[in-house]
Symmetry: C2
Subunit: 461 residues, 2 copies
């Protein structure tokens, strides 16, 4: 990865540029031989990403030329068999400009020396569907949205307690007490910024895809270190876990039609017109047919965690809003995830039924206090797209990590190699640690992020 | 409590009677001197409930005569200073009639011998507001709704795996596999029955209150033991915890305008007309005033877990949809809970703005496998209304339990006395274990449920 690219993307060098609209393109990430990115080892802020090719070639429906400003980090995603990558990634240093409390119209930007920035690190994985367009846009855009959102609240982030008014002026003497009682901390502003950044990025992607006549969507998994905390924001079915010597801790949960069933059914209950009379919002063990009519059959509605029986009517024979189990579960027969970016134009095949109303772009954010955690040298975060987690459990990944790292302490590239090893272990080879030799046929992308701070590089301001 | 009452209420003796409509009344629970109910000690299915009087007298707006069928268990709720109790309780044996898989129109009821029933136990606490009417109706009705809902699915509950079709006939050979893949178990039918029973009871209360010109609502916390499992269903701000020698485990979570902020804001976002232009759905640290106009102020909207800043506009000065912190938080300036039964007629004072659309009657259900738990002799569940939890934390209650029970092993009434002791400890006496001598001025009701099975009385079929 080019350091220049990150300087261009992340480091301020004057006024923040306006978002740059991507232009229509066809083969945004052309086929490349696998190349594994090497980070600088164990210092935080470096990451090692390896990607497995998609074994089932997916050809994007869109065409165009590769954008030069995409070239800087495209090599961290690799494909062997597919023409275009649907997995995309981005990582780098995040520099947030601080400015002084100032008059609203005339804020003073202090951009002269490093002390005037909040610095952190950013890693992101995007798993596209319906083509790579949304994933590429997200990889090019989300960090800019995040930087902008963080800069909009940075005054509050660097104060001992976020002030009620961003100006810092106390309108009423009791204002700090109200903020205190609500328990609002600097980290809540970062969580809010991540939530807003995902939404802003989703809007940008919607506009850009429409303008360029492209389609598609993607999941987004982002990790950010800032002010001694690690933030993991997830919208989709990628996953991040913390692996320590004695602990495996999920840092995200997956958002799929199955895990968000009640939210999705609830929306269909409130707005039945979204189903256009073509789907039933009720869940049954399988799709019902004519011979089930009049029978009392197991079902669940939006208000139910449990199951009950209902007498089958004609309308229950419609295609279910959420159909299938586990990895096969689909929303409106179309989509396997319920959160992510893009998909503004996505419709059920041969209908005008839109999926976007059922999708959320807002991520769930987990916060990890690095000071409390006191990371040891082999404590890492593993971020990966669903291709990895389809065939390896959290515990299996942890076992692989624990068997690999101790024997490679002197290898400066051991975290890169661990990422590669995790991807190779999804190939179903003889020495594969996966159960019953399971093989992933999906794209697989992995970041390995060492958390230990060797006295340098820790995010701070 | 009269055993006859429970036989009448819970034990079948022929066809299930139709729900009995309550009649209008005024003083449903007249003042009584405190009387503490004694259970039979440590055998499951007995419970010890003690109630503290409401120190701030609340006079119900409704008047009428006490119903004779209410007298059977009213003594488990006691009041000293208030004329009418807003806390109500019910407990007893739950007998679910089993019937054979039969022809839909001609089902055979088997009611001849005990083996043909599923038996369990039921405990319920209802904390009323706006008068005791809803709480009394709930205490008289919910167990009947639950029995009816359980009897409607009992065929599925007693099968090895709930059949897809309640008739037991397999329409397609793969049906059991679909049920298996969805992971549907007998306990999911009990959870579904609890969810449906709460909703059915809410509808009954709505009809009855309207017919009798009464008002009010109540929270509901229910514990049920059935087929070796403990189910805790909660809608409101009461709480149940499991206390063991080395463990304190919450068995419920509270549903208040604060804990359900995002759901409530989301509804106001989808249906802004519910606020009639009088409220803002946004959350701020305090209510905004004219001098905040134009300032950037901390806020949260429905999609946000974190906080951000927004520029204050005129519409932000409206009264907030959810206002206040902690125990003072109110929905539409009116209600301190966001789930419960009743409140069908409740409106914001001097407006036509209804609260019911924002309230859920459906409970959250927690399931505890008693066989896996292997309860020891002093393992108990403490169920209590918010009056207790306002002044005692889970850990404080656990400490009180652990300091009381070992020294009273020979006392057959020790669980009753523990319930009384917990209530007394909310009175702010010198030996009170509460922090800084906190006193509860609310009604307080407590059930202590011993889990240990001394070889008899365990729920089974």
């Amino acid at each position: 990865m080019s350091a220049d690219w990150f300087r261009r993307r992340f480091l301020p060098g004057g006024p923040l540029p306006a978002p740059r609209p991507p232009r229509p393109r066809a083969s945004p990430v052309p086929y490349r031989r696998p190349r594994f990115l090497r980070g600088s080892g164990s210092s935080p802020g470096t990451a090692d990403a390896s990607c497995r090719p998609n074994a089932r070639p997916v050809r994007s429906p869109v065409r165009g030329r590769a954008l030069p400003w995409n070239a800087g980090y495209a090599e961290i995603i690799n494909a062997e068999k597919s023409e275009f990558n649907e997995d995309q990634a981005a990582c780098g240093k995040l520099c947030i400009r601080r400015f002084e409390f100032g008059v609203e119209e005339d804020q003073e930007w202090l951009t002269l020396c490093p002390e005037e920035f909040l610095t952190g690190h950013y890693w992101a994985l995007f798993d596209g569907h319906g083509g790579p367009a949304a994933a590429i846009l997200a990889a090019n855009t989300l960090h800019s949205c995040l930087r902008r959102q963080l800069e909009a609240v940075v005054e509050g982030m660097v104060a001992t307690q976020p002030p009620m008014h961003l100006s810092g002026h106390c309108i009423r003497p009791s204002d700090p007490q109200f903020v205190e009682e609500k328990g609002i901390r600097a980290e809540d502003l970062v969580v809010g910024a991540l939530e807003s950044a995902f939404q802003e990025c989703d809007e940008v992607i919607g506009r850009e895809l429409e303008a360029s006549g492209q389609v598609g969507g993607c999941t987004a998994l982002v990790a950010v270190t800032l002010q001694g905390k690690l933030y993991v924001a997830n919208a989709g079915d990628s996953r991040a876990i913390l692996v320590r010597r004695d602990e495996v801790r999920p840092l995200s949960s997956e958002f799929t039609p199955e895990t968000e069933r009640q939210r999705i059914q609830q929306l269909a209950f409130l707005y039945p017109e979204l189903l256009a009379g073509e789907f039933t919002r009720l869940e049954f063990p399988r799709r019902l047919k004519g011979d089930d009519l009049g029978q009392k059959v197991l079902f669940r509605d939006h208000h139910m965690s449990g199951w009950s029986y209902k007498c089958v009517e004609q309308s229950d024979l419609k295609y279910p809003l959420i159909h299938g189990q586990g990895r096969q579960a689909r929303l409106l027969g179309t989509l396997a995830v319920s959160r992510g970016l893009g998909d503004h134009q996505l419709k059920v095949l041969d209908t005008n039924i839109q999926l976007k109303p059922f999708l959320l772009s807002v991520p769930q954010v987990t916060v990890l206090d690095m000071d409390q955690l006191e990371p040891q040298e082999e404590d890492i975060v593993v971020m990966a797209t669903d291709g990895l987690w389809d065939v390896l459990s959290n515990e299996q990944v942890a076992r692989l990590v624990r068997s690999f790292l101790p024997g490679n302490r002197e290898d400066p590239h051991r975290f890169s190699e661990l990422a590669q090893m995790l991807i190779h272990s999804t190939q179903g080879k003889d020495d594969s640690p996966t159960q019953e030799g399971q093989v992933s046929y999906d794209d697989v992308s992995v970041f390995v992020i060492p958390l230990h701070n060797r006295g340098q590089g820790r995010s701070s301001h």
